[in-house]
């Protein structure tokens, strides 16, 4: 699985997250801006008929791609999920799967075979009807090494996928299309969460004829069957989507077009929002406190607890964090409510690993309370003296720095004098993957799939040492529970096993379980039915605008 931080919105700069397009993209963009100064001349003005419903957005960086096989970041997915249809998708506000291009689906009891029945009225924006073969083609394209898709690993468990990827087979044997309206997936092993993988844009239907026509340029001439279609994309300037007249749900989308202005940094985006030029905006950190203190603006904000957990990782291989008493002491010593107050409420207290809203979340888990006296006692028992000064690694960022200072304050009260070490994101990622480098560090994890495995397996199993298990935690009981739970398709049983594993992990405390971050955006009063999803960018097909002063 991917380090799930891939999906974090770069607008939410406070997260300890992988900036969605990697750190190279901004550098390349800056270089391009230096080399190609002439390319920034104004785009021709857009004209829409009077009364057209046009949603205006703005973003600093260009959308990396619109090719569903390539995009793996918030900016790309925002538009990809509007241009393309997958077999299933998440509901507007939750992480439950609902039909999209499929009417219904069945999974075999052994969780190895999945059968989907397609709608017959789904059409690409060219007018051609979408058939099962278009889905098969899309997944095969993802598996083809030449495509260089980050989604490849999600479909490797299909029977014949390895042969296909190696060029030994002309098609994937594990994807069958007995008729145009049925598609069957067969896996080499049980995978109860396979359907979730089909809800990623990687598995969206694409027309082979369009890919063949445009070749490497397909990413900017994409054709899909979603509620919107690409109308114009002027690199570095703007992206315009228009409604797909063939969209299969009558009356949707409600908007006529979506215009995203590119090259608008956070502060400018905010000014444009205040001027009414932009309909939905992120809130820059420097404005957050102001927005929350201004009732008129606060009423326009939307917030949602994301499927993520931010934590203070403690390296279980490094002294004195090898001692569980020290790790527990840290959990008692750090005041999470204070951290959340410092964040102006952009988080909820975490009691364990799994965020609320994730299926399998254990509401009964107590976790640790703020109890500095207990922390002092535990540190004393462990023999940690007053000159203990661990290095706290954080991403160099204004908000992270304030959070780190809050933690530094709390730990000073129990006699631990933390040295804050702010570094750039790539070296931080390197450091936590070394067994003997970062003693403690601020980090976070965001779900790829709404399933406990996506947290517990990825972050705490022995085989993830040097990868995502950044605390180098190991407990044989936990590993055994994880192995037992992974293929379990009886959800009740599955979640019970994960619950047991999580309880052991919380007791062993390789993390200080800090908080589950909250995402906030602000929208204009004339924007309706814009709702946030805890795991995906907001969908836009139901959004509508009431009459308002329009510019230009």
């Amino acid at each position: 699985m991917r380090p799930s931080r891939a999906l974090t919105n770069p607008a939410n700069t406070r997260r300890a997250s992988v900036p969605s397009r990697g750190y190279l993209a901004p550098i390349l963009a800056a270089l391009a801006a230096l080399i190609l100064p002439g390319c920034r001349t104004g785009a021709p003005p857009l004209d829409f008929p009077p009364g057209a419903q046009v949603l205006h957005l703005a973003e600093r960086d260009d959308v990396p791609t619109l090719d569903p096989a390539i995009g793996y970041d918030t900016a790309s997915w925002t538009f990809e999920q509007m241009i393309f249809d997958t077999l299933v998708r998440y509901s507007d506000t939750g992480v439950d799967l609902v039909p999209d291009a499929a009417i219904s689906w069945e999974a075999s009891p052994d969780a190895r075979t999945f059968t989907f029945h397609l709608r017959r009225d789904v059409r690409f924006s060219t007018g051609r009807t979408v058939a099962a073969a278009d889905f098969k083609y899309a997944i095969e394209r993802v598996l083809r090494p030449a495509t260089n898709s980050k989604g490849m690993e999600y479909f490797r468990a299909l029977i014949g996928a390895e042969d296909f990827a190696a060029g030994r087979a002309g098609s994937v044997a594990g994807i069958e299309t007995p008729d145009p309206w049925t598609i069957i997936f067969r896996l080499t092993g049980p995978d109860p969460i396979f359907v979730h993988k089909l809800a990623m844009p990687f598995a969206a239907a694409i027309p082979p004829e369009a890919v063949n026509r445009w070749g490497d340029d397909f990413f900017k001439h994409v054709v899909g069957s979603g509620p919107f279609m690409l109308r114009e994309w002027i690199g570095g300037q703007r992206l315009v989507l228009a409604r797909n007249p063939y969209y299969f749900i009558k009356g949707l989308p409600r908007l006529d077009a979506i215009v995203e202005q590119i090259g608008v940094d956070n502060e400018l985006e905010w000014l444009k929002f205040e001027a009414g030029d932009i309909d939905v905006s992120a809130i820059p950190p420097a404005e957050f406190a102001y927005v929350m203190k201004t009732p008129r603006l606060k009423a326009l904000t939307l917030r949602i607890v994301t499927l993520a957990t931010d934590y203070l990782g403690m390296n279980c291989l490094m002294q004195p964090f090898t001692d569980v008493r020290v790790r527990r002491a840290f959990n008692y010593a750090i005041d999470r409510r204070k951290l959340i107050a410092v964040l102006n409420g952009r988080g909820v207290v975490a009691h364990g690993v799994l965020p609320p809203g994730l299926p399998g979340y254990d509401p009964g888990l107590e976790g640790y309370s703020y109890d500095p006296a207990k922390a002092r006692l535990l540190l004393e028992e462990a023999g940690v003296g007053g000159n203990f000064a661990p290095q706290l690694w954080i991403r160099a960022d204004q908000t992270e720095m304030i959070l780190a200072q809050s933690i530094q304050q709390d730990l000073a009260l129990v006699g631990v004098h933390v040295v804050i070490k702010p570094v750039a994101w790539p070296p931080l990622l390197d450091a936590v993957r070394q067994p003997n480098t970062a003693e403690i560090f601020l980090f976070g994890w965001e779900a790829d799939f709404p399933d406990p495995a996506n947290f517990l397996d990825v972050l705490f199993s022995r085989q993830q040492w040097g990868a995502n298990n950044d605390t180098f935690y190991y407990d044989p009981r936990v590993d055994a529970l994880l192995v037992e739970a992974a293929p379990q398709s009886n959800l009740e049983r599955r979640y019970l096993l994960y619950r047991d594993a999580e309880q052991i992990i919380v007791r062993d405390a390789p993390w200080v379980f800090l908080y589950n971050p909250v995402t906030c955006v602000i929208r204009q009063p004339w924007v309706h039915d814009y709702v946030l999803n805890p795991m995906r960018p907001a969908r836009l097909e139901k959004v509508w605008l009431s009459p308002h002063r329009d510019k230009e």
Binding site: A289, K338, I402, Q409
Partner: protein, 276 residues
């Protein structure tokens, strides 16, 4: 001989003295520990009040105490960096001006190269490579701000070496080291003092700039530059949070400038009167 200060100098001296007192007696003067949360204004800085005359910051710390302790860092870095600056600048200036020729050419071209690099940028690069700490910061500030001093000292030295008393000493067979240390240096000292005092405000400002960019003295040690940087997040709801450390920086810079310019004025008037 009676030392008579002009008003500008007197004001500057008093202000510098007040800074030194505040820095030296910070633990006595500060009402609170500058690093601890003594209010619960987390994420919502508290306005100035009777209990906290300058308010409390987003981590519940007393701003007044932080500013008092911040004076220590600012003064230490400002003065120590100035010592480094002066040591390098005066040495290069003296050597260059006294020996002339190839030595002068090499040293001055090196100075020119250093001058082309913006001091703040260079200091940022240095500090980013080394780890930010008190020592590395004052060394780096010193290493990037000596160029002006070197040029001025060189010019003064050049004129000194042409004076008769130097010529006389040379004729008596004094070695270069004695000429430089006993005859040239004492006569360029006044200009060095002026540059040092005026330069302190420059290094102070550079330190604040580095702290503002997150490259200053690491927390929890309070520094004025970092206080302003942290306050930017609350600029619209708690503008005083940025204003008070800003005023502190203004005060410190102004005090050294007044002292320096006052001294310069007295000296230039004096020398004009005493001109042969």
């Amino acid at each position: 001989m009676k030392l008579r200060l002009n008003p500008m100098e007197a004001a500057g001296a008093a202000m510098v003295l007040s800074l030194v007192v505040v820095a030296a007696f910070a633990p006595i003067l500060a009402p609170h520990d500058p690093t601890r949360a003594i209010a619960t204004t987390f994420g919502d800085p508290g306005a100035p009040s009777r209990a906290f005359p300058l308010g409390t910051d987003e981590l519940g710390r007393d701003v007044l105490s932080r500013i008092i302790y911040g004076a220590r860092i600012s003064l230490t870095v400002g003065v120590a960096a100035m010592v480094v600056t002066m040591t390098i600048g005066v040495a290069i200036g003296l050597l260059s001006g006294f020996f002339g020729g190839a030595v002068d050419f090499l040293l001055m071209r090196f100075t020119d190269v250093m001058l082309t690099l913006p001091a703040l940028l260079l200091a940022m690069a240095f500090v980013a490579v080394l780890r930010p700490s008190l020592l590395s910061i004052l060394l780096m500030i010193g290493l990037v701000s000596w160029t002006g001093v070197a040029r001025v000292v060189r010019a003064e030295t050049l004129t000194m070496t042409q004076r008769d008393f130097v010529l006389a000493a040379r004729a008596l067979g004094a070695p270069p080291s004695r000429l430089i240390l006993r005859h040239v240096l004492p006569n360029v000292t006044p200009i060095i003092v002026v540059m040092a005092v005026l330069g302190t405000s420059g290094t102070l400002l550079l330190d604040a700039g580095l702290s503002f960019l997150g490259l200053g003295v690491p927390p929890p040690i309070p520094s004025w530059g970092r206080m302003i940087e942290e306050a930017t997040m609350y600029f619209r709801t708690a503008p005083w949070l940025a204003a008070f450390p800003g005023i502190a920086i203004l005060y410190a810079v102004l005090s050294f400038n007044l002292l320096g310019y006052g001294y310069l004025r007295r000296r230039s008037r004096g020398s004009a009167l005493n001109a042969p």
